[in-house]
Amino acid sequence: MFVAGNGAFLDSTGASYGFGLKKDRLNQMLVLPRLVMVDVAVIGAGQTKYGNHQLGLKGMWAEAAENAFASVDQDFDPRQVDEAFIGSVAFGGGQLGNTAALLTEHSGMEGVPVRRVENACASSGFALRDAWMAIKSGQADVVVAGGIEKMNDLSPERKRFWLGVSGDTEWERLAGLTFPGTYALMARRHFHEHRSTHDDLVHISVKNHMHGFENQQAHLQKQVSFEKAASGFMVADPLTLYDCCPTSDGASCVILAADHVVRQFTDDPVWLRSSGAGSDRLALHDRPSITQLVATQKASKSAYSAAGITATDVDLAEVHDCFTVAEMIATEDLGFAESGQGGMFARDGRGIRNEGSVCINPSGGLKSKGHPLGATGTGQAVEVFKQLRGSVESERQVRDAQIGITHNVGGSGATCAVHVFGRDRNE
């Protein structure tokens, strides 16, 4: 039994408290100093397959939630959820308001305090962070973080509009830029400053398609040859079709629990050891450098420090590769390669599963697995959860995986969330 301030008591398992009672106790504790630092575990995670779905928002979310509930080792009752955070850009605007309330209503979580979290493509990365903070703060014991996006039921014109809403509308859009354009500017500058080449990006594309080929949840389950990827249709010079992720429909759901209630649900949790986040100026032209993402550097530094690890400890990383150049830059910003050496890292195959120093995007990444904007961040967490528990398809299991991270970026780097997961808790 832990002792909190002013005589308040906190059971180390939480099992002896009913949920109603526990909430009353937590409400009382709002005014009491908390002395106990709670650890946070992932007890379940699931998603839909990414791709072109016939299902609508409610159907996709129900499927992801159902898969997450089913992945919990013990019976899981959604009424046990204290809070829910659901990331979504609400692409298309069809359910722009109260998205999250609609979804929880249709997944057994009626009445649970819920909100939509919006941070562009990093929406559910930040939903996960918010969920983690809710438990760390002692306000909740069981929290759902998820994400959803329906992107492929719009006309091409509407889709292109929505794909650009997360940039600096007033300045970048009037200069003709959507994200393929902004990332193309970053790529060309990286080539210029660091002598990287488009071939380096092709290596990333080929690797991620190879990783995603065996992933049953991936949008693009197909291998791509170097020659084919090198000669793709030019989307935004120098980026070709094979440098760009697809627009996907999909939903993902992760269930977190405080350490004192974990054993109610599983004996095999994955620990969410830390959460780091950062932000940067929205427009590319307002940043001192466009060949690094300061938000990623801040987020990873904070997350690594809190987890007591360095980049060399990481076995696998789900990295935000909305464009191949984004992965090249991320390998530098996350500390896997020296600054400016991301191209060489890719060329040397250092991110290939069970061959390189760290497996980058074992799921296939956004490039192959797909990128349903709001669902991507928690979708990355689903992959890391399964990898660390050894429950992915055997042919794509990262060997001896102990530590995995997720890296979720909003826009061209205005926001970023990095999470560290481990088989073990923080020491």
Binding site: S155, E157, R158, R160, F161, G164, V165, T169, E170, W171, E172, R173, L174, A175, G176, L177, T178, P180, G181, A184, L185, M186, R188, R189, H192, F233, M234, V235, A236, D237, P238, L239, A283, L284, H285, D286, I290
Partner: protein
């Protein structure tokens, strides 16, 4: 005799404190506007040329087809078309619009002006001319509802001076552009006072395919074979992103010098949004 040369993508002839501007494009033996030009963009260029020559222009009488707000935001030159209370005595310049894509800016009341024939015209492709005109006509109609980025009129006008004239802020020795609201201590920054120089260096560039271009360009990007955007750094330090003038055949290289001219960007709700576009520097 007059001096004949090029200025911001237009042909000019300057004589006796009067200025002739002419589009370089010829179609069916007529002078026609380029894909992103009109009388407003040419009038801006003309006023800027005269200011560059040392003329202090307070106000100018514009024609109906010229957007007086854009002229004011681009050049700080007022007009009776924008400001009905403007004293007539202050309006000592006028714009005279020719039948073809030609303007004269003058202080004279003369009905006849003599300029040297500007040189440097080029024939405009028939398909390009017809397709672009049709695209703009469709885009400018109020019935056309663009699915493009929604930059409201008030938002467009709020940033208009910075967008059209490169008006910049100055704070603690730093030049800031585009304008920002607060510094890192939470203090409000001063309003724009100075202007950036009209020259910048290309730091990166891309050409978006028609399929990848934002939807507000969806009518014209296929005709142009895509749209080109530059990331540039001004001599004073700030960076910006700019479209390349649609009518310029230009393959950028990092390190190139560019200058800027006001051009049409796109139309929404029947209103043309103007902005600066990059023009490869002739010098």
């Amino acid at each position: 005799m007059s001096d004949s040369s090029q200025w911001k993508g237009y042909l000019i002839s300057y004589s006796n404190d009067s200025l002739l501007l002419q589009s370089p494009y010829i179609h069916n033996d007529c002078t026609v506007y380029g894909p992103d030009s009109d009388s407003t963009t040419m009038a801006v260029a003309g006023i800027q040329y005269l200011q560059n020559q040392g003329h202090h222009i307070t106000a100018i009488h514009l024609t109906e087809s010229i957007d007086a707000k854009v002229i004011f935001m681009s050049t700080s030159v007022d007009s009776p078309q924008r400001n009905e209370e403007l004293p007539t005595a202050t309006v000592d310049w006028q714009v005279i619009e020719g039948e073809e894509a030609t303007l004269v800016l003058s202080q004279s009341d003369a009905e006849h002006f003599e300029f040297d024939e500007p040189t440097g015209t080029e024939i405009m492709d028939d398909d390009l001319f017809n397709d672009m005109n049709a695209a703009w006509e469709h885009e400018c109609s109020k019935q056309h509802v663009s699915q493009g980025a929604y930059v409201s009129q008030s938002q467009y006008l709020e940033g208009g001076t910075a967008r059209l004239s490169l008006a910049s802020q100055s704070f603690e020795g730093q030049i800031i552009w585009p304008p920002r609201q607060m510094d890192s201590s939470g203090n409000r920054l001063p309003r724009e006072e100075g202007l950036l120089s009209d020259r910048a260096t290309v730091e990166s560039w891309t050409k978006l395919s028609a399929a990848g271009a934002p939807s507000e360009f969806s009518l014209r990007a296929p005709i142009l074979g895509g749209i080109q955007t530059l990331l540039v750094k001004f001599d004073e330090g700030p960076r910006g992103v700019f479209l390349v003038c649609d009518d310029v055949d230009y393959s950028p290289t990092i390190g190139d010098q560019v200058e800027f001219g006001v051009r049409r960007i796109y139309a929404q709700e029947g209103l043309i949004r103007y902005g600066l576009k990059a023009i490869p520097s002739l010098n």
